[in-house]
């Protein structure tokens, strides 16, 4: 049975007064990921915004073990840790690699691909805030079409982002899911499902960023929801190769309703200089992906 808001555990594994920006979605994500794991997890973290949240020496903002890793090596460090802990019979925790989009899709992709191919017993979570936010919003391989960063053309990015879940699916791993902080119970259930599977599990999380997307901090949850409601971010999971839409994306598919992308990006400064043609192109990209996802859901 699906979890509801009121059945989410009360226990927290993140302490208040941390270093994350006001309105940062990673806090919401981390809270519900750790709740789903009941705090029984060791996190391997590369250079990223999450590093900042975890805090500076000599104090930590989280009450689970954190192992910092070099930027490209999250999955390698995590697979070494997992093998080592297992060797010592220490099986009371899930090894979670948690990286941003750069540490996953760009510089981190080789180690992730290697770990996935080997079937390293880790849960890899990418929180995708769609650019290098920790270094001042430079473009990443996950920055959307038409979005502006400090290293894209001023009118916005001219390439669409990588399809990371598809890349991981090509590795034949047992569990892949997308989730959003706008829908914490869906996120919670997926993390629990991933926890109980052995092998490499991959979760791709939408992570709205007020500082990098240029919207008001209060709108983080609204952004997360709009990303889903416009079909820009699709909630789904692939279990042993079987793909299905979940949560809000599933109900949208059933109702055949979807908001236009412009509604999602209207209040985001990063799209403010995008041309109408670029936004049409973005809408087309979203439409194509959405239709393919719905088709795949219906036929699998």
């Amino acid at each position: 049975m699906a979890t509801n808001i009121l059945s989410l555990p009360e226990q927290e594994f993140m302490l208040p007064g941390n270093r994350a920006c006001a309105g940062c979605s990673i806090g919401i994500i981390f809270r519900h990921v750790t709740k789903a794991l009941d705090g029984k997890a060791a996190f391997v973290v590369p250079a990223s915004c999450f590093t900042v949240l975890c805090g500076m020496y000599p104090s930590s903002s989280v009450t689970v073990p954190i192992i910092n890793s070099v930027f490209p090596g999250t999955a390698a460090c995590a697979s070494g840790l997992a093998a080592s802990l297992e060797r010592q019979g220490k099986t009371d925790m899930t090894v979670v690699a948690m990286a941003g989009d750069g540490g996953t899709a760009d510089i981190g992709i080789q180690a992730l691909s290697g770990a996935a191919e080997r079937g390293a017993n880790i849960l890899f979570i990418c929180y995708d805030n769609e650019a290098y936010m920790n270094t001042g919003t430079q473009r990443s391989g996950m920055t959307p079409l038409a979005a502006r960063t400090s290293t894209t053309p001023t009118l916005g990015k001219i390439q669409p982002p990588k399809d990371m879940p598809a890349i991981l699916e090509a590795h034949g791993i047992p569990y892949i899911a997308t989730a959003s902080p706008g829908y914490p119970t869906d996120l919670y259930d997926k993390v629990q499902k991933a926890r109980d599977i052995r092998g490499t599990r991959y979760m791709h999380l939408s992570a709205p960023c007020p500082a990098g997307w240029h919207y008001e901090a209060k709108d983080t949850v609204a952004m997360a929801k709009l990303a889903v409601e416009t079909g820009t971010f699709i909630l789904a999971e692939t279990v042993e190769g079987v793909y299905r839409l979940t949560g809000r994306s599933l109900s949208m598919a059933k109702a055949g309703k979807r908001k236009p992308v412009r509604e999602f990006i209207r209040t985001q400064g990063r799209f403010s200089r995008s041309s109408e043609e670029a936004l049409d192109e973005l809408q087309q990209w979203v439409d194509n992906r959405w239709e393919a996802a719905v088709h795949r859901h219906e036929t699998s």
């Binding site: 808001i5 009121l6 989410l8 009360e10 927290e12 993140m14 302490l15 208040p16 007064g17 941390n18 270093r19 994350a20 920006c21 006001a22 309105g23 940062c24 979605s25 990673i26 806090g27 919401i28 809270r31 975890c54 805090g55 500076m56 020496y57 000599p58 104090s59 930590s60 903002s61 989280v62 009450t63 902080p181 914490p184 007020p210 008001e216 901090a217 209060k218 709108d219 983080t220 949850v221 609204a222």
Partner: protein, 110 residues
């Protein structure tokens, strides 16, 4: 030379503590204020709704009726205000009630 009393660590390792990033009351510009008369949980005196607790990115809102907000560490993002279905939370400027800045008296060359 700085004396590093008691610290016997060979490598850098941190232990958990609240407020690692410092008190946020010092720099927050807006703070949330909850009106129990509008809050569903407060009105029903029961753990219902709880959206402000669920979505708080800083873990400063309790899962209680009514929810309590820890203003020591709240960063004032306003997410709780946005997600509240009954508009029970409003964001109030931190300096409300303080005398307004008088530019002419500062002597700054602006």
């Amino acid at each position: 030379m700085v004396e590093t009393r008691h610290c016997e660590q060979q490598t850098a390792m941190s232990w958990p503590c609240a407020g690692e990033g410092g008190r946020t009351g010092d720099w927050r510009s807006m703070k949330p204020v909850l009106d129990p008369a509008k809050c569903i949980a407060a009105k029903k005196d029961s753990i219902v709704c709880m959206l402000c607790w669920v979505f708080c990115p800083d873990n400063v809102i309790t899962r209680t009726a009514p929810p309590e907000i820890d203003l020591e560490y709240c960063k004032g993002c306003g997410i709780c205000m946005e997600v509240c279905p009954s508009q029970a939370i409003t964001m109030v400027p931190e300096n409300e009630g303080q005398p307004a800045l008088n530019v002419e008296e500062t002597g700054c060359d602006v």
